[in-house]
Each structure stands twice: as structure tokens, then as C-alpha cells.
Subunit: 176 residues, 2 copies
DNA sequence: GTCTATACAAAGATAGAC
DNA sequence: GTCTATCTTTGTATAGAC
């Protein structure tokens, strides 16, 4: 099972609706495209109404960030519980990021306010890398490498004509 | 020698002054803090005057991006010409990024308009990774891994208490 | 829970005088 | 080459009515 052993903050149903809309918008157009006005418009209401449900825009970001950690963590946990290997984990990591690239970007770029994250979430989401290599330092190096290739791929930073598939293969091999 | 075999676009002296100020500001406060008004203020002039020297803000970004590619490339080339080893290259890469973290972030994050880059610059700046491992696919994987660890470190994304030094060591070892 | 109206701030960019 | 004045857009957020 991939139940999350983390206490996530409760959300009212309206909050959940708002965050779902925010997530749709971010995934479709990126965080930059998320303004309180636009978000409200997506919901058929006006921007000021949002402030009855969420204190400010930063709260939206934090909640989406939590969702992203949960999603990445779940996907990776699920895979390694079936097959605890470096290649399988990397495939899962890459695929999940590719499913929600903008959310992934949001979750992994820029400063992170750890105080706003539920206790243990960050550690839990990184655990699969440790499980797979059995060493915290190597786990960190592997995660960093996976992130690097992921974000460069998402940002279109690998030169045109690159054999990205093969690069992922080399990464798996280097850490096997 | 580490002369650049790339034709860089010429800059007027005033353009150079403006870009130097832009670079100082970006390095001190990040790209987000660079507005045309603020940039002008740093130079003791008003924002509209900038448009006599540069077409728009995006041109500033492009030029800083070129500078960053040149700087990273030069540092890496210089090191591998002295010692063409994975650990040496990684040390140089990490150190140069740490020297100008905001410029590094600007150069490696977000979309890249390759048409705006001087011909060959991108390839030239990545060449040291190829030189060191002798295979384009492995070079790409190594570069991606280095970038991942670099950007996570710069963004403070490695959990507090991490042994970053050791993670760099593992990365070098994995690709040795 | 939603609205209108509004305050407030900052940004990129242009026109035209000097 | 620089200025002032201005346009235009966009954003976060609050007050108070309904």
C-alpha cells in the first residue's frame, strides 16, 4: 500500500475546489500564469472572494507544493514496493514529473519554506531513493542527478537531437 | 589557453556599462529584482533612457545569459586543460556556479531561446563534459547530475544536515 | 459566500522635448 | 543621451454591502 503516514492539513470542500482549479491552471500554463484574478475567473467568481477561503496567494502555492510532494512520493513509493531497483525508481520519477511538469517545477524550484510543510513529508517523499541504494549520501546524489536530468528535459535545455532516453539509461547504470 | 572560439556580439561601451550594472544587480538580488527602473537607478539615469541602448528587457536577459555561458565554459575549459578528470571538472563547475549563483540560475532555468545565442556557444560550454568522459550520452548524464546537485544546493533544497560534500564525491565516483 | 468598488504598487514601454 | 510625462497592464489585497 502507499498510504501516506503523514498528517496532511485538512481542507474545506471549497478550499479543495479552489486548489483543484489552481492546480489545473498551473499545470496548463505554469505558476506565472496563476493570478488571483485568473484563478477566480476559472471558478466563475471574483478575486476578492478567494480571500474568504485562503489567506493569500502564498497559501495557494504552499498547498500545491504539498500536493506535488505527495504525488511524487506516492508514485515512487508505489514503484519501489513492486521493484526496488534504481532503473525502476528513475522511470517512475521521470514519468511522474512528466505528467505534471509545471507542478514538478513548482515543487522543486526556488526557495522552500520548510516550516510550511507537514512534518515528515519531505523526508517521506525522499525515502524511496534511500531504500533503493541503501545509503543516504548516495541517495542524495542519485536524487539530485534525477532532478537535474528531469528539469533540464522539462525546460528543453538538452540540446536538440540529444538521446535523452540513453542519458537516463546512463544515469541508472552509473548508480547501479 | 581558454580563448573562446566563438564570435560574441559586439557591445558599445554604454551597453557594456548597462549590462555590468544589470549583472551586479542580478548577482546581488536575483533576476526578479531586475526591473528597468531599478537598473536605470543603479546607473543614475531614468528607465526610458535604457531603451536608447537596448531594445527591451529581454535583450538584457539574453546578454546576461551569454555572459553566464561564457563564464561557466571558461572555468570548466581551464580546469580540464590542466586536469581532465571527472572530480576536477565537477569541482570547477560547482565552484563557478557558487561564485555567481543568481547568474547560474538565470543561465540554467526556464526556457532558452537558442536562436538568440551566438552560434556554437552552447556546444562549446558543454564540451568539457564530453572531453572528460569521452561519450556524448554519458557527458549529458554527468552534466545533468552536476546541474541537479548544483541547483538543489543553491536553492537550499538539500535537507538541513546533508553532507553535500560527500554527495559531490559520490557523484564523481559514480561517473568515474 | 459573493459582490462592487477601490486602494495601492509595480512593471514594461513609448512620445516628444531638450 | 537623457529627461518628464504618460499609457497600459497587471497584480495583491481590503472594506463594506448584499
Amino acid at each position: 500500500m502507499t498510504d501516506i503516514p503523514i498528517e496532511l492539513p485538512a481542507r474545506s470542500s471549497r478550499q479543495a475546489e479552489i486548489l483543484a482549479a489552481a492546480r489545473r491552471r498551473v499545470e496548463a500554463e505554469g505558476w506565472e500564469a496563476l493570478s488571483m484574478r485568473a484563478l477566480a475567473a476559472d471558478l466563475g467568481i471574483r478575486a476578492p472572494s478567494l480571500y474568504k477561503h485562503l489567506p493569500n496567494k502564498d497559501a495557494v502555492r504552499t498547498q500545491l507544493l504539498i500536493d506535488a510532494f505527495v504525488q511524487m512520493g506516492q508514485a515512487c513509493w508505489q514503484v519501489i514496493e513492486a521493484e526496488a531497483s534504481v532503473p525502476a525508481l528513475l522511470r517512475a520519477y521521470r514519468a511522474t514529473a512528466a505528467e505534471s511538469p509545471e507542478l514538478y517545477r513548482l515543487a522543486t524550484s526556488g526557495p522552500l519554506d520548510r516550516a510550511a510543510l507537514p512534518d515528515g513529508l519531505e523526508e517521506w517523499s525522499g525515502q524511496p531513493f534511500f531504500t533503493v541504494v541503501g545509503n543516504p549520501v548516495i541517495a542524495q546524489a542519485l536524487w539530485a542527478a534525477a532532478h537535474g536530468l528531469t528539469i533540464l528535459e522539462l525546460d528543453g535545455r538538452l540540446p536538440p537531437g540529444s538521446d535523452v532516453e540513453a542519458a537516463w539509461g546512463e544515469l541508472a547504470e552509473a548508480f547501479d
